[in-house]
Amino acid sequence: MAILVDNDTRLVVQGLTGSEGRFHGLRNRDYGTNVVAGVTPGKGGQDVEGIPVFHTVAEAVAEAGANTTMVFVPAAFAADAMYEAIDAGVGTVICITEGVPAHEMLKIHAFLRGSGVTLIGPNCPGALSPGKANVGIIPGEIFREGGIGLVSRSGTLTYQIGHEITQLGLGNSTIVGIGGDPVVGSSFVDILERFEADSQTEYVVMVGEIGGDEEEKAAQFIESHMTKPVVAYIAGFTAPPGKTMGHAGAIISGSAGTAQAKKEALEARGIRVGMTPTEAAEIVAEIARS
């Protein structure tokens, strides 16, 4: 099984002819992902190493049967690209682009309601189901197939924790980076719900960070809706209030959004929290052994 991306994924890359889009699109194909199309307005009819390029996402859906898109266009055009993909009937939209204005995301989030479309990102590393498909920029070689679902607001921190888990001889069903912006398409709760329903996933690691209240909402959801064990890690225990720590969403405002508050909310519901990536991986290994 796995979630979001798998052997049934038929990927279109919006921005395939750009240098980044090309590099990662081809890298995803090398991993085994079925990359069926690219979209660049004005470059329809061309191809990128055999991948046909279309002017519009609608054509990529109609002619190449794309069901998932990876958005790799500059921030100024990313909202337009996401709307186009949603309208074209692509079921899963994964937006890697960093720097999408927050007000755009408010509107897109409202537009998505009831559409049935899943949006991951923006400002995220994508999704990887080891052994099946990789959509995004996650280095596939450091992960192997297994039963751990991994969901994170951060990119490289996900690699760090995934790596520590792999070193312990364990593997992943799917790794999902939901993105570090204040408003993203899918929340922790959205992804946890999918992991709970996924037969390959045995337990879940959730990697959060300071800012917002998504970890607190996840804690409530885990307590009331999940049977699978969840282990959490939160970055930013020692971050000072009022300073944005790299991610637009990672800021402690007033007394809200601290790592300590998130840890307490999770632990109050019986969810174990590692204070370092290593500690989180060790808790996972302990659960795996029992």
């Binding site: 100024a76 927050a102 994170s152 951060s154 960070e209 225990f237 991610h247 637009a248 370092t276």
Partner: protein, 382 residues
């Protein structure tokens, strides 16, 4: 990006929100001239990007131009919560009958803009929310629906504003504030206090306005308002070089790739008994030049006694990072010990480059935890 009070008020005025007439001054003489032009009693207000100005003595009344000059010379150069005052705003004093509070903020939890309004203004709004939650009217706006007059009515009637003229004026300000908020792509637009004068006129007496950094590219007029001198000098240098850098207060320079991993590194250094000097994120595609730039910023901080590179290569290639470190050593002659932990894309190649260069102050460690411990040890020894 935060706007100064005077910038926020100028923005309010552009959108038709009533504010008092005022002038900006950077010298006591300018403050005197401003007071003379405005006539009557004026208020001299420190312009800093932090709260607590009033308590710190940064807001003073002046009856005459001479007094305005004297007050300005006291306020200019003042340090308010670590912010040096370099500008004052001089405006006509208001006869205040009542103080209200109005704001619209980006509510990331609900994923909608959120209005907050109360007739108990002029104080800390979090206090009102806690002590008298019923007095604070909260109302979300659906971003697709946008503003409609009923939003204004709900706020005004909900908070119990009884006077018809006030109701009308406030509802109009609510609409204009929403327009300023969306047109400027703000994260926060706050008026505290929103005053009613003894003549019954409603005006914004203060402004707190934060714009989304990610949207600045399409608001050049707002981007221009950014005050380079207000930032920490190291943060300003970093911004110039395109390095994501936040100054902290310790001795271990922290450098990672990706915000989450760098945040985790700051934590781990602290847990290992050290104090991080900074949060420095090389970002996604960090190349050798990016590493050199980052090291230039970090080593400019005289408190730094050791540097910890914690890199997990994805898009970032570890050999590029290693090359950057070696180039920086060549060009800048860095004296502090550098602890390097490389994993992920091209980690082997990166480690080999460092090994071959055999620089006396470069130490490689296998894991994040070991690297942090070593960097802390070296900072303490140095």
């Amino acid at each position: 990006m935060d706007l100064y009070e005077y910038q926020g008020k100028e923005l309010f005025a552009r959108f038709g929100i009533p504010v008092s007439e005022g002038r900006l001054a950077t010298t006591p003489e300018q403050a005197r001239d401003a007071a003379a032009e405005l006539g009557g009693t004026v208020v001299v207000k420190a312009q800093v990007l932090t709260g607590g100005r009033g308590k710190a003595g940064g807001i003073q009344l002046a009856q005459t131009p001479e007094e305005a000059e004297a007050r300005a010379s006291e306020i200019l150069g003042m340090d308010i919560r670590g912010h040096a005052v370099r500008k004052v705003w001089v405006e006509g004093a208001s006869d205040i009958a009542r103080e209200y509070y109005l704001s619209i903020a980006f509510d990331r939890s609900a994923k909608k803009p959120l209005f907050m309004f109360t007739t108990q203004g002029g104080v800390d709004i979090e206090e009102v929310a806690e002590s008298n939650p019923d007095a604070l009217v909260r109302l979300h706006v659906d971003p697709l629906e946008g503003y409609h007059p009923w939003h204004g009515r709900r706020l005004v009637y909900g908070a119990g504003v009884a006077d018809p003229s006030e109701q009308k004026q406030i509802a109009a300000i609510v609409e204009k504030l929403y327009a300023a908020f969306t047109a400027s792509e703000a994260m926060l637009a706050e008026i505290n206090p929103l005053i009613v004068t003894t003549d019954g006129e409603v005006r914004a007496l203060d402004s707190k306005f934060t714009v989304d950094d990610n949207a600045l590219f399409r608001h050049p007029d707002l981007a221009e308002l950014h005050d380079v001198d207000a930032a920490d000098p190291l943060e300003a240098l970093a911004r110039e070089k395109g390095v994501t850098y936040v100054k902290l207060d310790g001795e271990v320079g922290v450098l990672g790739n990706g915000a989450g991993l760098t945040m985790a590194t700051v934590d781990v250094v602290t847990f290992a008994g050290g104090r991080p000097a900074d949060f420095c994120d090389l970002g996604g595609g960090g190349d050798a030049q990016g590493v050199v730039d980052a090291l230039e910023v970090i080593t400019r901080d005289p408190q730094v006694r050791s540097i910890f590179f914690n890199i997990f290569g994805g898009i970032t290639r570890c050999d590029e990072v290693a090359r950057g470190i070696l180039q920086a050593l060549d060009r800048m002659g860095i004296e502090q010990p550098i602890v390097v932990r490389l994993d992920g894309t091209n980690a082997e190649e990166g480690r080999a480059l460092l090994r071959d260069a055999d620089a006396s102050n470069v130490h490689t460690e296998a894991t994040m935890l070991e690297g942090a411990r070593r960097a802390v040890e070296l900072a303490m020894a140095g």
